[in-house]
Amino acid sequence: MNLYKKIISESMRILVVTSTLGIVGGIMLQSIEARLFTIVSLLVILPALNNLIGAMGTIIAAKFTTLLFLGEISDKKIFDKKLLHLFRQILAAGMISVFVLCGISFLFSFIGELEMNLAVFWRITAISVVTTAVLLFVMFVVNVVAGFFVYKKNQDPDNFLIPISTMIADVVTILVFALMVNLLFVF
């Protein structure tokens, strides 16, 4: 099978599934539409959180597959030092990034005269921190388990783990985000 057909056949199914699950995320966004278009800062911060979590997910997937291809990890030892070290790095970088993000978002809200005060700022920060921490843990576990599974079937983990990571970043991020918004912004 030539490379073009191989990429299409290995990627199509997972892309259709992840896009459909993205639609599910979209339906959840519709459920908080009123809050999103009233407290516009929530709409502003959501792609940023998505991006951050997605970026961390692609780093986890890409680094994991590189370690796998180079033979530095094996499925015989899932709690490998290298994997734990990677998780600690990702979590630390994620938490620092989310605080930087919330700070910039707060500044932008003042400049843009959007509806923002300290009470709203702390709620948005709490939503962002909890969402990021939960998602990074979930993504790490999924990438490691799915990565070993796919690799043992002689398929390229790059074709699966990246779309799975972006799917989780979008759907589960929105789910946790929507839950936190419903919890902290009661209309």
Binding site: L3, S19, G26, L43, I59, S105
Partner: protein, 177 residues
């Protein structure tokens, strides 16, 4: 430490880049509120764009590491196959997203808005034409400088991809609606 700094840099850039995309959404929130189904379409479209773009950059990165792809702009079967596959996937999945968004908006939310089918297709074409050359050139450049494309190119193209995707969606909405 160098590895952590690269990861942190990517995380901060991704956050700030996503914030830029969010700012565009915030500025045009009034216009977006008038498009039935746009919130249904948005995550799936960003998901598709991120999945295709990041897979493309990861495959290029792996090929560069293994040595089967040279970091040069010249005819290389591996590069050509990857580019063609990324374009094909974008067109097919965008059309699928448009149809499903239309169906969801109509059957679940009771709003008939046929234009939602064409918005992601046009936005997909615009974003692909911009993103694939950027991703390819960035991968080659990063690799030639001795940096790890896995740390930098994937997150960077996800970031740029989201901003370009939101802009492409807004352009598609202005053109079609």
């Amino acid at each position: 430490m160098k590895d952590f700094n690269q990861i942190l840099f990517s995380g901060v850039i991704a956050s700030v880049g996503g914030l830029l995309a969010g700012i565009f959404l915030g500025i045009y929130a009034d216009r977006l509120e008038l498009i039935p189904g746009i919130l249904v379409l948005l995550p799936g479209f960003l998901d598709m764009r991120g999945g295709i773009g990041a897979s493309f950059s990861a495959r290029i990165g792996s090929a560069l590491h293994i040595g089967s792809l040279k970091p040069k702009i010249k005819k290389q079967p591996i590069l050509n196959s990857n580019l063609l596959a990324a374009v094909s996937l974008t067109l097919i999945v965008s059309a699928f997203l448009g149809i499903v968004s239309f169906a969801v908006t109509y059957f679940i939310f009771g709003k008939f808005f046929i234009e939602i089918i064409f918005i992601p297709i046009l936005a997909g074409i615009i974003s692909t034409l911009m993103l694939l050359p950027i991703t390819t050139l960035l991968s080659f450049n990063v690799f030639r400088r001795g940096l790890d494309p896995d740390d930098i190119v994937g997150p960077t193209t996800t970031t740029i991809g989201d901003v370009i995707s939101v802009v492409a969606l807004l352009v598609a909405i202005i053109v079609i609606v």
